[in-house]
Amino acid sequence: MSALTYSSVRKTFGPTVALEGLDLEVHDGELISLLGPSGCGKTTALRIAAGFERADSGTISVSDADITNLPPHKRNMGMVFQSYSLFPNLTVAGNVEYGLRTRGIPKPERHKRVGEMLELVQLTALANRYAHQISGGQQQRVALARALAIQPQVLLLDEPLSALDAKVRATLRDEIRRIQTELGITTLFVTHDQEEALAISDRVGVMSNGNLEQLGPPTEVYRHPSSAFVARFVGSMNELPAVVRGPDAVAVGGYVVTTPAIGRREVGEPVLFLVRPEDMSLGNGEAAGISGTVTGRTFQGAATIVAVRLDVADSLVAVHSSGSAATHLSPGDRVDVVIDGARGVCETPVSA
């Protein structure tokens, strides 16, 4: 049984196409993240599910019931907004209770449910505060409790973490995932932060220009991006001008990298070869590498990112180094860079 289904949903705003026939199934109890740059259509997709926007064509259904034309207040969906959107005139408890009152649930049960919800988000102590008296992270947890109190069929999260600072963001992110798993609630999560999407999703859908570019588990999207767009957007990528050398190899300058990403390209065809920083390492003299000059270094705690300007192809790359050797490097040092092409991606360069 699929809980939330988009079938060929298309939406335009004037000349702008926000969604180009979206097909997506969020399975029962699953958390799918829609990831993409702003304007890619992810928020439109979410708002169509909530009923705030109406699709130009296509249908949207929940548990096989068509809800395409149902007004928002008759859809049983819980939504959490980027701006928290707590009702400022109501207390924390009053906010959580709101959806229960509109449903005419008797008072004793409302109170019981509010209590449970606040316990779930660990805010029981703040029940009588107002939104302006609590922090952003707490407000967003109240918003989550408010959305969950109505026992929605689907939970919609519209960039719920982007207004928060880094530390709170990580905590709340994990908490959302914990609660989502605990309740087993079907969830659609919209974000532009790939780290967030990778961390908490069952599947990640990467969107660009109204299209779903790739949909798959986080590891797959990260390791085997289906397109250069996905590769660039999820994680960081080094881009090296290269030439196809054979059915499973490209040459960067004179240096040959074995890679399965050639596809049906011909030998001699120029390509852009995309490699993640962690698939590049600094040579220790044993394996041959591409020589280059260190231009900078960023210490990130567990690892060090070294910027190297390669002699061939004149490109600047970031190399992920977990060893202690990198910490001694300084700009101007000569190094060898070894490339592991197993998870590389080839892209036909846009000719000028």
Binding site: N69, L70, L120, P152, Q153
Partner: protein
């Protein structure tokens, strides 16, 4: 934990509303009928008196004879030019303009140093000063003029004999607007930093004021000058009660003698004030554009 059970649509306490899925959502267009009606009604209410006043002032067709056939007849400025020829016209207008000028000067001389001082040296006095500046709302012109009668008439009659004795009371009347305008201007430019920067570059206090602060405050200075002028050119209560022949008082008396002429003068005041407003908007807009390019 007695948690929320599996969020299934049926079987829980939450009634699942469903069934009329085919009903099309309400069109957004219909939601605008009410607001548009309000806007149109407001436009009629606010424009109609201005139109009728213009017609009355500039058309010499008595109302009973006004008809579609006579709607373009006998439009002329003669009621206005007749009023201009009244001997009191230029006297009272000049007096009102002088009063306006005096009020602007006193307002700025009093408020700019005070507001700057509060911002730079005495931030804790701000609530007090802000409270004082809204006091004129509590003592409206008609009560203020009673106070003038109660206090100045017995104690300083010589002061009230001068027409210019109106100036300080006009300053007080305009205070809530003018102070807020200047205060907002100061808040917007972060005087503290400007003063620090200017002083650290070796400028003296007077030249800091003249070259760093006043140019950046010009928009709010012009705005409060306009507000003050508008207040003075429309002020009737105090002038009437103290028997000063200002322009509004003359307009009112002239209306008693020649209705059309009085209304032509009212129209003249309105158009004049609006032109002043337009001029001021233009000035401040150019000013702010220059500022944005400079920074």
């Amino acid at each position: 934990m007695a948690l929320v059970t599996q969020p299934t649509p049926e079987g829980t306490g939450v009634p699942m509303i469903r069934g009329d899925a085919a009903k099309p959502g309400r069109g957004r267009r219909f939601g605008r009928i009410g607001p548009n009606l309000v806007l149109i009604a407001a436009a009629i209410f606010f424009i109609a008196p201005l139109v009728s006043m213009t017609r009355f002032a500039l058309q010499k067709v008595p109302m009973p004879l006004l008809h579609w056939s006579t709607i373009f007849d006998k439009w002329s400025f003669s009621a206005l030019t007749d009023a201009f020829r009244e001997p009191s016209f230029s006297d009272t207008l000049l007096l009102s303009l002088r009063l306006a000028f005096g009020t602007v000067v006193v307002t700025l001389a009093l408020l700019i140093p005070t507001a700057l001082f509060v911002h730079l040296k005495l931030p804790k006095a701000r609530p007090i000063v802000e409270f004082l500046t809204v006091l004129p709302y509590v003592v409206p012109p008609i009560a203020l003029v009673a106070g003038v009668a109660a206090f100045f008439r017995p104690n300083a009659r010589w002061f009230l004999n001068s027409n210019y004795s109106l100036i300080p009371f006009y300053v007080v009347m305009a205070l809530p607007f003018t102070y807020r305008s200047i205060d907002a201007g100061i808040k917007a430019i972060d005087v503290r930093t400007l003063v620090d920067a200017s002083r650290s570059l070796g400028a003296s206090w007077p030249s800091t004021l003249r070259r760093a602060l006043l140019p950046n405050l010009s928009a709010s200075i012009i705005s409060s000058a306009f507000l003050t002028t508008a207040v003075v050119l429309g002020e009737f209560t105090i002038a009437r009660t103290l028997s000063k022949q200002t322009f509004p008082v003359f307009s009112f008396d002239y209306f008693g003698r020649k209705a059309q002429g009085g209304i032509a003068l009212a129209l003249f005041t309105l158009v004049g004030s609006t032109a002043l407003l337009g001029l001021f908007t233009l000035l401040t807009r150019r000013k702010s554009r220059r500022q944005t390019t400079r920074f």
